[in-house]
């Protein structure tokens, strides 16, 4: 039983990170209808900003960690806005495939630029926040895991507030529903899309730092696998659906941790894709998505 709870806790903290990344995918898909492959690498950049901030701020303090987190989120928000402005905006309205390839190009650009600037060798991520382990009736809990769940929940609540209650959030939902109609009623699409990219990238940066705190070895290709899995999580919950992405992330993280703890542990990386395929075949709109029929 305690092993089950332990795995559940590990799974939830991994899932919370997947959920943070998945939110960025799902929001961009919501407004622009394409897979932002570069999102996984924004996640990587976030972790690296955290790494360099770790040299400036004092290690192991709450305020130091918070500053590092905030700087990484701001930096990545800016990066996301720049990527959209220079790579994706010129292709607005082009065929999906071209945008997809551009996204892959941006992703490769970030990875290889990272390899030149940061070096290809893995680095040890500094303990930004005070870290402690404590034992609760056979259950080993690290403060980092609790931190992940806490920060992720906080950010998701904040996001839900922005999307549901603020003016820009309403505009985001309007663009997602029908870009042309939104434009007709006076929504500035460019601003909304920039904002969406900024918001999603900031969440990815937070995900990157939280991931690096729990798995403290970072390298320029660290985003690829979590990125793919987070995208699977976004589809699992229903792409374009914000609560769905959170649910999908948590579910995927938990399932993966349980598989990793079983005797099929070497198949851990395949399980996300197996889930993806099963979901798409039987419930193509995802768990919380609505199925729409294509009209001619």
């Amino acid at each position: 039983m305690s092993e089950f709870l332990q795995q559940l806790l590990n799974g939830l903290s991994l899932g919370a990170i997947y959920a943070l990344i998945a939110l960025g995918y799902t929001m961009v898909y919501g407004v622009l209808r394409f897979i932002n492959f570069a999102h996984a690498d924004v996640f990587m950049v976030g972790a690296f900003i955290g790494y360099y901030m770790g040299r400036i701020v004092p290690e192991g303090t709450i305020w130091g960690g918070t500053i590092a987190l905030a700087v990484a989120m701001l930096g990545c928000a800016l990066l996301g806005i720049l990527i959209e402005r220079f790579a994706y905006r010129p292709l607005r309205g082009a065929a999906t495939l071209n945008v997809l390839i551009t996204a892959i190009g941006v992703s490769l650009l970030l990875e290889y630029t990272g390899q030149v600037f940061f070096g290809a060798a893995p680095r040890v991520f500094p303990p930004l926040f005070p870290a402690k382990m404590f034992n609760l009736g056979g259950l080993v809990i690290s403060t980092n895991q609790l931190l992940v769940i806490f920060v992720a929940t906080l950010l998701m609540v904040a996001l839900q507030f922005i999307v549901q209650k603020t003016k820009i959030g309403t505009a985001m939902r309007a663009v997602s529903l029908n870009p042309k109609a939104a434009q007709l009623v006076g929504v500035n699409i460019d601003v909304v899309i920039s904002f969406t990219f900024g918001l999603g990238s900031a969440l990815a940066a937070a995900g990157g730092i939280l991931y690096a705190l729990n798995y403290p070895s970072i390298d320029p290709l660290m985003g690829v696998m979590p990125g793919l899995k987070a995208f699977v999580a976004a589809i699992l919950g229903g792409i374009g659906n914000i609560p769905g992405a959170a649910l999908g992330g948590l579910l995927l993280g938990t399932v993966e941790t349980f598989v990793g703890g079983s005797r099929f542990s070497t198949y851990k990386d395949a399980i996300a894709f197996a889930i993806l395929i099963i979901i798409l075949l039987f419930r193509p709109a995802g768990l919380l998505g609505r199925f729409t029929v294509e009209k001619v």
Partner: protein, 317 residues
């Protein structure tokens, strides 16, 4: 092309001629040429799915790995029992063993294509791309976990059967098959499926079937390419066939202009040579490569070499 059969015959003769003089070619150039040939084979076959049929597959490297592993297994385990010790065997026996290995690899890849294609081709666009990507990754992880195929370490000591003749001949046959298939009466259905799936279905074309046929044929040639690759490098590891390899092939098809065989061939050649040419600035070559990719998509979305321009389907939003 007016006489495709003659062209194929000519190409095979040229391949034979070049292989006859391969001793005179610098080994480095010969290696690069073999690599180019394998990539052309992959790009031409993927073009049937992505270009002519309009389905976006991101799992081509998975089928390549099926071909590579199965043909290597035939050469390592089955062929010695059929033909005796291959290192001392004559050229004819080696050739037969390699042909068998390539065929088994190609057929198994085609079978994998069928198994993957039947369920996933019901999906469209981005979703199809993701499912094929997922299948590619699942194939890779599976190979990593089969101990008799070397697991994560891969297979080593594969006989070096791949010569420039085999590569050029396979490329010629692949181009011949794809071109003839697309230009046949039956093959017009591929283009119709791409141009408007709903309209094609409305006039009675079985679009699902066309997609599956395209997928299976493409997977077959990807398997052959994998077999050639394995017997060229003499060792294969699962990581050689990851997501990045699939993307590399897709990029060749897109830059060549989807559905334009000549363009795709030129793009495959250029993109294989580019990293070799940029070797002096090795550190920055992949940055340049990715920047070129973004710029090309923005400036020439119809593909670098497509003059006619492919009419991309505008989705009413």
């Amino acid at each position: 092309m007016p006489k495709p059969h003659l062209a194929l015959l000519g190409a095979l003769l040229v391949a034979f001629g070049i292989s006859h003089f391969s001793g005179a070619i610098d080994p480095y150039h010969l290696d690069v040429l073999t690599g180019v040939g394998i990539n052309v084979l992959l790009a031409v076959s993927l073009n049937l799915v992505n270009g002519f049929t309009g389905q976006f597959s991101l799992g081509h490297a998975g089928f390549m790995s099926v071909g590579a592993y199965l043909s290597a297994a035939v050469s390592l385990f089955l062929a010695p029992q059929l033909f005796g010790d291959l290192t001392s065997a004559g050229a004819l026996q080696q050739g037969l063993a390699f042909l068998l290995a390539l065929f088994v690899g190609g057929l198994c890849a085609a079978l994998a294509g069928l198994v993957v294609g039947v369920p996933s081709l019901r999906l469209r666009g981005d979703y199809l791309a993701l499912v094929t990507l997922g299948f590619g990754e699942i194939i890779r992880v599976t190979f990593q976990n089969v101990p008799s195929l070397g697991g994560a370490l891969g297979l080593h000591g594969i006989p070096a059967f791949t010569s420039i003749f085999w590569v050029l001949a396979s490329v010629a046959i692949a181009i011949f098959v794809v071109t003839c298939l697309v230009h046949s009466t039956y093959g017009r259905g591929f283009l119709a499926t791409r141009d408007d799936e709903i309209a094609s279905a409305a006039v009675g074309l079985n679009t699902t079937r066309y997609k599956i046929v395209a997928f299976v044929v493409a997977a077959f040639f990807a398997g052959i390419a994998g077999g050639l690759y394995g017997h060229f490098k003499q060792s294969i590891t699962p990581t050689a066939f990851d997501f990045a390899k699939s993307i590399e092939i897709v990029v060749m098809v897109i830059l060549g202009g989807m559905g334009n065989t000549v363009g795709v061939i030129i793009a495959a050649i250029l993109l294989t040579l580019l990293p070799e040419l940029l070797r002096p600035i090795a550190e920055y070559r992949m940055i340049i490569y990715s920047l070129l990719l973004i710029l090309l998509m923005i400036l020439r979305p119809q593909g670098l070499l497509n003059i006619r321009g492919l009419s991309p389907r505008k989705h009413p939003s």
